[in-house]
Symmetry: C2
Subunit: 158 residues, 2 copies
Amino acid sequence: MKDSSEEDFDRIDLKILRALQSEGRLTNADLAERVNVSPATCHRRTQRLFEEGHITGVRAEVAPAAVGLGALVMVGVVLDRSTPESFAAFEGAVLEMKEVLDCNLVAGDFDYLLKIRVRDMADFNKLHGQKLIALPGVRQTRTFFVMKEVKENARLPF
Amino acid sequence: MKDSSEEDFDRIDLKILRALQSEGRLTNADLAERVNVSPATCHRRTQRLFEEGHITGVRAEVAPAAVGLGALVMVGVVLDRSTPESFAAFEGAVLEMKEVLDCNLVAGDFDYLLKIRVRDMADFNKLHGQKLIALPGVRQTRTFFVMKEVKENARLPF
DNA sequence: ATCCTCCTCGGAAGAATCTTTCATTTTCTA
DNA sequence: TAGAAAATGAAAGATTCTTCCGAGGAGGAT
């Protein structure tokens, strides 16, 4: 099996991953010092983690309220039919909706669970009436307004 | 009102926010070029966005499967009582659970919606039996295994 | 054990970038 | 409109990036 990444990470790789997960803008020099390795080695290791896809990207987290996206809403969706075509059509349409931050196909009372960010409740109401229930194959939706964000996008526990 | 940030962003700030949201490790020089501004100005603007809390952090996204966290599960939680003390106790305990990536207090059929990452179903089963239902005040949980991650942590639409 | 190959390491150094200073220009206020 | 406050770009020393190189070490075959 030459999956190119069937191997595990050693202690150095793990330290780099953990450090960059917390502080993605760390300088290579600082990172090297933290990981106790020369800057050259650190640079090579980090570059490889990116190239092999173990780090899929580095992103700045923008305060939602600062850009007029203060409202968070979770929505459960049930589709009309459970055919592959139906799922594909829904997923394709959801991918185009920039307000939808997460979309997961789940097992349980819903087919999909969505995480949506909008300006406020009025904005969500408009989105719901004009776009959500108009998505392909949607039979029913269940809305959960978020009243308090206790924990948001925590770091991966490894 | 001296909220220190009651003002909106101008076009330059927005460009910086958008660029860093997509590529958090952009060099200041590259960022400046993209935003059509001198490196000095770009540096100052970016620094200010961090200092004023509009960028809350920069984080590398680690592929979950690469670190043994291939399973994603959403869990709805209903508490025994709806008292402030009950909520506080639950939230405090959830904050200590590193497997819980998201935790939101919601309006609807549940009190809380959790997003949890573990190695596999067996791992989740153990977590559920040993820790989830043992959290303070939990009356009932409803589990949604994620079968397909259609969209995960998309960028904020602004 | 010995040799050989492959891989990873750290030092070094030119190129690139960061970060601050300063004079100038622009914006805002009275 | 005049003056104050804030933001801008050029410049430059300090820092960092990124690559090249030879040295060390693990593992395999003889």
